[in-house]
Amino acid sequence: MPDTEIERMAGDGLEPTPTFVASLREQMRGEWHLGSDVVAPPRLRQWRGVAGLVAAAAAIVGIGLLTQRGADTGSIVGVDSTAPTTSPPATSPTEGLPDSAFEQLWVITSVDGVAVVGSDMPTFTPHGDGTVTGWDGCNQYQLTPEGGESTTAGCPAGVTSVVARGPFVSDSLGVVRTDRFTAMRFERAPDEPAPAYRLDRQYVFGDVGRFALTAGGFVSVESAGCEMAVEVGWSIANGNFMTFLFDSIPDCSQLAPPFLAWLTQMRDVGSTYVFRDSPSPAMWTRVGDRVTRLAFAPEAIATETTG
């Protein structure tokens, strides 16, 4: 089918109605003034500052409680990956990086000791001219040795400021670190990346479930003879990650109870999961601004076995 035919079938698109155009214009004006209206006089701002501190403290306590709950029950552990960061001023975005690190794609795997995974994982690539380019979890950014930072418009608070700050230290395992984050090197694949997952193997999560990848890009989850297929996608921009949803649990009486409980727990979180097999296989998800992971018991951490 020629492109022109597809263009024809696409049509010209709809025209906005005058009512819609006028209404949205007024909304935009209102939104613009809303921004200036919230600049409070000094006295009110002072109270807002106190309120903000109280809110921040409550949020920290809330996250702490959630984390504690996750640790106690083995359920969901939450971290706020988008909390504003307070990094020191930049010296050079690439300070401390070994020569071998340049022109490579790096993926930030943890911030302040907390894993950050998913299709929104931030990346950076240091360049020979001292600049750093990358993805901050929402859009592209660029950092310059002079301290310039072209960051993203319309994005939630990300980790760009963390990415900006060295100095780096590196180890022999292809990992670089600052005092805030850890990053791993990923192969840059300008075209189609070869999935990092071995299709001739099965990934087993302890005794709760088994993931068998097929060449068709699907995952089979088996338990006591019961199989479930879910759709899989790989992220290109941020390395090889497999995402899938647990929104359909097979009506199968042979489902092993621990496996069923595990599936139910993942389904109830209600978000896309990301499976990563390096450095150790794990399952993660993102709900709103919160990165969560299913807290496996130590013995239930995935191990890779030949299938």
Binding site: E5, L14, W32, A229, G233, S248
Partner: protein, 165 residues
């Protein structure tokens, strides 16, 4: 399509000027993504422009071009269908699981009748002229999966073309 703008958006007047000059183009593009669903198009365009106001007001964006607006529309639309895909996948599973074969390709009468993801892939590939790897990156799929998606969409449209003939 890209000869408009860029606009400086540092105050209310310039922002409204940007809006007045660009909204028809942005709306048409959004409607192609939504399959001419006016309600969804309204929501999508509204989200984009109110988002623009916020970043302009905060001073994080001083200049905006059609590229920024089209990209914002595309990203918001794709974010939306990723959420909606959950239900679609559940239904797809119900159709597929009994014999392992996909159900028959339903009839479509044009891009507007394609499922969201297929329509998005077609718009990005053929109307936005993105390469298949670029479309794959936008949809967060493998190139292989994206090619399959495009092939399925073309097959539906071709089948309808034959029926119409």
């Amino acid at each position: 399509m890209m000869d408009l703008g860029p606009w400086t958006v540092t105050d209310e007047v310039s922002l409204v000027a940007c809006y007045d000059q660009s909204v028809a183009h942005v709306y048409r593009y959004a409607s192609r993504l939504t399959g001419n669903d006016r309600a969804r198009t309204d929501d999508l365009v509204q989200d984009v422009y109110l988002g623009l106001v916020r970043v302009a007001r905060d001073g994080t964006l001083h200049t905006v071009g059609m590229g920024w607006l089209y990209t914002a529309v595309r990203h918001r639309f794709l974010d939306g269908i990723r959420g909606a895909a959950r239900e679609e996948r559940r239904l797809h599973l119900v159709q597929t699981l009994p014999n392992g074969q996909p159900s028959e390709v339903p009839e479509v009468r044009g891009l507007a009748d394609l499922p969201d993801r297929e329509r998005a892939a077609m718009v990005l590939r053929y109307l936005d002229d993105l390469s298949v790897p670029e479309v794959a990156a936008e949809l967060r799929l493998t190139v292989h999966a994206t090619e399959s998606l495009l092939a399925r969409a073309r097959r539906r449209m071709r089948a309808q073309e034959v029926r119409d003939a």
